[in-house]
């Protein structure tokens, strides 16, 4: 019996194996079918990407054909590498490197061998392609920019990364995907859907026609065109004004929340990120860590807002009823708010709200702020109430606009200070700098512009957005939703009066910036900033800030301008803001003196000051960079 076990097992298991194989080979024919499926090649038909127009229908971004050389390593027969390299102007080293990469990716699947040939290169290669079996040409469409401005608004298209391919099954190796700007946020609408053709192949890997008469093939769906809300002329003008400066401009139409211009400086010509020079140029932009051309300052740079924040201090003071229009505070080149503590101011005299704003009196708003905080017994609940008022203007939060990057900014709450001063009785005196936008509050230029839109509307705003129209589709309804501020409509008039006074009162901080025929309301701002240089806290040149809206009644544009290290507010940001307003409302410029000056001003000297010495870190309070949506 024991002798028989091994032979018995052999006989039984062998029979079982035969049954299994019989089942696989003869009974179950699904495998036969699958083996056919294996010998099917998939061909993609890439649709043209949707065009991008501006708010007036001017074409901004179109397409041009581009040709990628693709390779299937397994199909390569003996080729003349030297000729191949010469034809495409690549080195043998590059050839070997790409080949190894392609083989590692897959010997059977196509990978991009050489991307984005232009028409000439394509023609030369096309002529000889039959000599290079295993290579073929994949046509795609690349962007063709009709304007040289707006790179940060558009973003760019690039090959999908391996991570994106793994994450989203739509993309294959070599597929293009929108990055940054509207190319990223409206990727799905712009790209359309690629078509798929299944090609039957025989065992010699020859194509013998479409699989099952094209039963499973799909037709490419064209990408939809979109209209942006920006005005191409205004955008271009803004970028020109910002030449040789760093900073951002954001202009919004208050009645709709549409972004009219979104300028960041320095910027770049979008066309340099197309074609074979793309990766070289992109690397250059990416590695420029000093002027950061890929960094959208309009959306991402968080600055202390400075004096424009006084607008909110005044509004909240009225809403909390700690002041009224007639409330008067004395200013004596500043005011003493606690023993040994003095807040400096550039002016003097008794001020009411309207001229407090027009003359930008620190003492006035320091007093108002302390009254707001002192209204409540516990300072943290007072700060929370103040904080909620501020947040109702869209500050301290992601705004939900349709661009892929953004920052929250910062609005402190009672807890912020409890954490900052543990076990210490902080009160209104401790935090009085908030009154003039120099405390813990941080804002991005788009938040600043949106705040002005809310003031222009006297108490509400629409979520800023850059889309105006999508062909055949509604834009997101959330952009039509009114957001009300916690400050009532009736309190806005005295503040707007003050903003108007900035231009029109004697001694108003912007009275050199008047434009004939336009009632502009605005506010200057000058924000101190510091950096650690050689380990020492050093004061850098102030940031120049200006916010405005116009006309005073039924406003059509609200704007925020920030010029880094641009001295006081009326010096650089102010002229740029009024020029932008005039350009948008009138189409031509009457203040050519300002225009001439702004074209000529260069702050490069300011920026180069510390370039040789080491800047350890900018002392802008750091918050995590994060993504909107």
């Amino acid at each position: 019996m024991r002798k028989a076990l091994l032979p018995l097992i052999i006989i039984i298991t062998t029979s079982l194996l035969l049954i299994r194989i019989f089942y696989l080979q003869v009974i179950n024919d699904s495998f036969k079918l699958q083996s056919e499926n294996n010998a099917i090649k998939i061909k993609y038909d890439y649709p043209e990407r949707g065009y991008i127009y501006d708010r007036f229908g001017k074409l901004l971004v179109a397409n041009q054909p581009s040709f990628d050389i693709m390779v299937i390593p397994r199909d390569i027969k003996k080729i003349d590498t030297a000729e191949f390299c010469m034809l495409l102007n690549i080195t043998k080293f590059y050839f070997d490197e790409r080949m190894t990469k392609a083989k590692v990716y897959s010997p059977r699947l196509p990978s991009v061998f050489l991307p984005q040939l232009n028409k000439l290169e394509y023609a030369a290669f096309q002529e000889k392609i039959r000599k290079f079996e295993g290579f073929y040409i994949q046509k795609r469409s690349l962007r063709d920019y009709q304007v040289s401005a707006g790179a940060n608004v558009f973003g760019f298209i690039t090959q999908a990364s391996e991570r994106e391919i793994a994450k989203n099954s739509y993309y294959n190796s070599g597929d293009l995907i929108g990055k940054q700007g509207v190319e990223e946020s409206y990727e799905k609408i712009l790209r359309g859907v690629k078509g798929v053709k299944y090609i039957q192949k025989d065992k010699y890997n020859r194509e013998i026609g479409s699989y099952k008469e094209g039963k499973y093939d799909t037709i490419a769906v064209q990408g939809d065109d979109i209209n942006l809300s920006i005005s191409a002329d205004l955008q271009k003008y803004g970028e020109e004004l910002m030449i040789n400066k760093r900073g951002g401009i954001v202009a919004i139409e208050p009645s709709s929340g549409e972004i009219l211009a979104l300028v960041t400086a320095p910027s770049y010509d979008p066309a340099i990120l197309v074609g074979r020079q793309r990766s070289k140029n992109y690397t250059r932009l990416y590695n420029d860590s000093i002027s950061k051309p890929l960094y959208d300052r309009g959306l991402l740079a968080e600055y202390p807002p400075g004096s424009p924040f006084k607008i909110l201090t005044g509004l909240i003071g009225l809403q909390e009823k700690v002041i009224n229009e007639q409330t008067t505070f004395m200013c004596n080149h500043g005011f003493s708010y606690a023993r040994g503590r003095f807040m400096k101011c550039h002016g003097s005299g008794p001020h009411q709200l309207h001229n407090g704003i027009a003359l930008s009196c620190n003492s006035y708003f320091g007093n108002v702020y302390m009254k707001i905080i002192n209204k409540y017994v516990r300072p943290e609940s007072a700060v929370n109430i103040w904080s909620n008022h501020v947040k109702s203007f869209g500050l301290g939060q992601f705004m939900g606009y349709d661009l892929p990057t953004g920052k929250r900014g910062k609005v402190p709450t009672g807890n912020t200070y409890n954490r900052m001063y543990p076990g210490w009785h902080w009160d209104s005196k401790t935090i009085v700098s908030n009154s003039i936008g120099q405390g813990e509050v941080l804002m991005t230029p788009i938040q600043l512009a949106n705040m002005m839109a809310a003031v222009a509307n006297r108490g509400y705003y629409y979520t800023p957005h850059i889309i105006k129209k999508i062909k055949g589709e509604q834009i997101d309804p959330k952009f039509r939703e009114k957001h009300k501020t916690t400050v009532d409509r009736k309190y806005f008039d005295p503040v707007v009066e003050g903003l108007f006074g900035v231009f029109n009162y004697p001694g108003g901080t912007g009275n050199a910036l008047q434009v004939k025929g336009i009632d502009i309301c605005g506010k200057t701002g000058t924000a101190e900033n510091f950096a650690k240089i050689n380990g020492k806290r050093t004061k850098l040149q102030d940031h120049s800030i200006f916010v405005a809206f116009a006309p005073k009644d039924r406003p059509k544009i609200a704007i925020a301008v920030l010029v880094e290290n641009g001295y006081y507010g009326a010096r650089n940001a102010g002229p740029i803001a009024v020029l932008m307003i005039e350009k948008y409302l009138k189409g031509k410029i009457s203040r050519t003196d300002l225009e001439k000056r702004m074209f000529e001003v260069s702050l490069q000297g300011e920026y180069n000051k510390y370039i040789k010495t080491k800047i350890d870190s900018l002392l802008i309070p750091k918050t995590e960079e994060s993504t909107e949506n």
Partner: protein, 420 residues
């Protein structure tokens, strides 16, 4: 005329099957490796896989002559030395081994690599045969059992951490041989039940398996005659089974690596991912399944040509047989293998010495378990474990290891006449 007597006494049936299998193996390697190379290649292009295999096959000829020329008593006399050397070679891998694809089981001399675990099987078989053929050894004796197990587990302990679970698995076949030589049958029963419980506890929740075991034990208890009922023994068995089931569950979740779990899950149909982890198995089933009754013909396999099956020339070589030669070809190849195993067992049983009988059993067992695990894996009824198909799979070490294993036995078999 010693040579004459050897040729007369050699078992030519086994040799014929051996030669046919080696030739068929090479043809399939040729087919599977040709697809990815240039069309008009020489058969002796040694840079190609089939060329190298041709070279390996060529070198078996002097190897066979040497084995047959050595005195038949040599293997028995020096079996412990051979075993010792193979253990040293295995242990040496930890110091001087070359790592290929994550496994440290090769010695590299220039571009030439040698896998000592392929030779350790024959050495272990020799050592086992030697030890068991001692008159003193009775497998009913617990001490003897322990010593026997030690011989088997020494090489396993050296192979497992390489890691090469496939090669280690092979050693389980020695238990069948031990059983033949008198090992108590509960060893096999325990092993059998353990495997069943292992699979069950992967398929079902552990408590469900424990419940099944409880029902089975209670049923057995009631069915037994009153006098044979032993409540304590039943309880102990139940506790042991529960402990085992829960520890399998734990080991599977916490000790196994993800790719091990994947392999079991695919097999048990718990996971379907034909592009990722299930790719190998799915592709090999497709390749075999597309063969039909008579196959697509030599060099005509689309799956083979397309290079869809990974590792096709080594562990998955049988897919080429299935695709190009169909069920008929599979039947012939499997039949040849089974015939060879049964022939070896037949020869073993007629040996005059216990040593050569046990060694013969081991040879049959080793060849069989390779064959079984490999074909079962390729046919999708066994987890993916790297075990070569004897005489078929590409690789010098494997081919030579199996050739040595087989021909030492054939030499012993031819010698038996002289032992009268």
């Amino acid at each position: 005329m010693k040579n004459q007597s050897i040729t007369n006494n050699l078992d030519w049936v086994s040799i014929a099957i051996y030669i046919i299998l080696v030739i068929l193996g090479w043809l399939n390697i040729y087919s599977s490796s040709l697809s990815s190379t240039v069309e008009d290649a020489s058969l002796f292009d040694f840079s190609q896989i089939y060329g190298k295999q041709m070279l390996f096959i060529f070198f078996t000829i002097p190897l066979i002559f040497i084995i047959l020329a050595v005195d038949g008593k040599f293997y028995e006399k020096y079996s412990s030395v051979i075993f010792g050397v193979s253990l040293v070679l295995l242990a040496g891998l930890f110091v001087a081994g070359k790592t290929i694809a994550g496994q440290r089981c090769w010695y590299a001399i220039g571009s030439f690599t040698l896998q000592p675990s392929e030779f350790a099987k024959a050495a272990t078989a020799l050592a086992l045969a030697k030890y068991l053929s001692d008159v003193q050894v009775n497998l009913k004796d617990l001490n003897r059992q322990i010593q026997t197990l030690l011989i088997i587990f020494l090489p396993v302990m050296l192979i497992l951490p390489q890691p090469d679970p496939g090669s280690a698995l092979i050693y389980s076949v020695f238990f069948l041989v031990l059983y033949r030589e008198g090992l108590p049958s509960w060893y096999l029963w325990t092993g059998f039940v353990a495997i069943i419980l292992f699979v069950l506890s992967l398929l079902f929740e552990p408590w469900a398996v424990v419940l099944m075991a409880l029902i089975a034990i209670v049923f057995y208890y009631i069915k037994s005659r009153i006098g044979n009922r032993n409540i304590i023994a039943s309880a102990i068995v139940f506790v042991l089974i529960s402990g085992y089931v829960f520890s399998v569950d734990y080991v599977f979740d916490h000790v196994f690596k993800q790719h091990h779990r994947d392999r079991f899950n695919i097999l048990l149909g718990k996971e379907v991912d034909m592009k990722g982890i299930g790719y190998n198995t799915n592709q090999s089933e497709i390749a075999i399944g597309s063969g039909g009754w008579f196959g697509k013909g030599f060099l005509e396999g689309t799956q083979t040509k397309g290079g869809f099956v990974p590792e096709q020339h080594t562990d998955y070589i049988f897919t080429t047989v299935g695709e190009e030669w169909g069920f008929l070809g599979s039947l012939i190849v499997i039949g040849l293998f089974a015939g060879l195993f049964l022939r070896i067992i037949y020869l073993a049983e007629r040996q005059k010495t216990k040593f050569s009988r046990i060694y013969g059993q081991c040879v049959a067992g080793i060849l069989f378990i390779h064959f079984f695990v490999n074909i079962a894996m390729v046919a999708g009824i066994f987890p993916t474990i790297g075990v070569p198909l004897p005489f078929f799979s590409y690789g010098g070490s494997g081919l030579w290891g199996f050739t040595i294993l087989l021909f030492i036995f054939l030499k012993m078999d031819a010698n038996k006449v002289n032992e009268w």
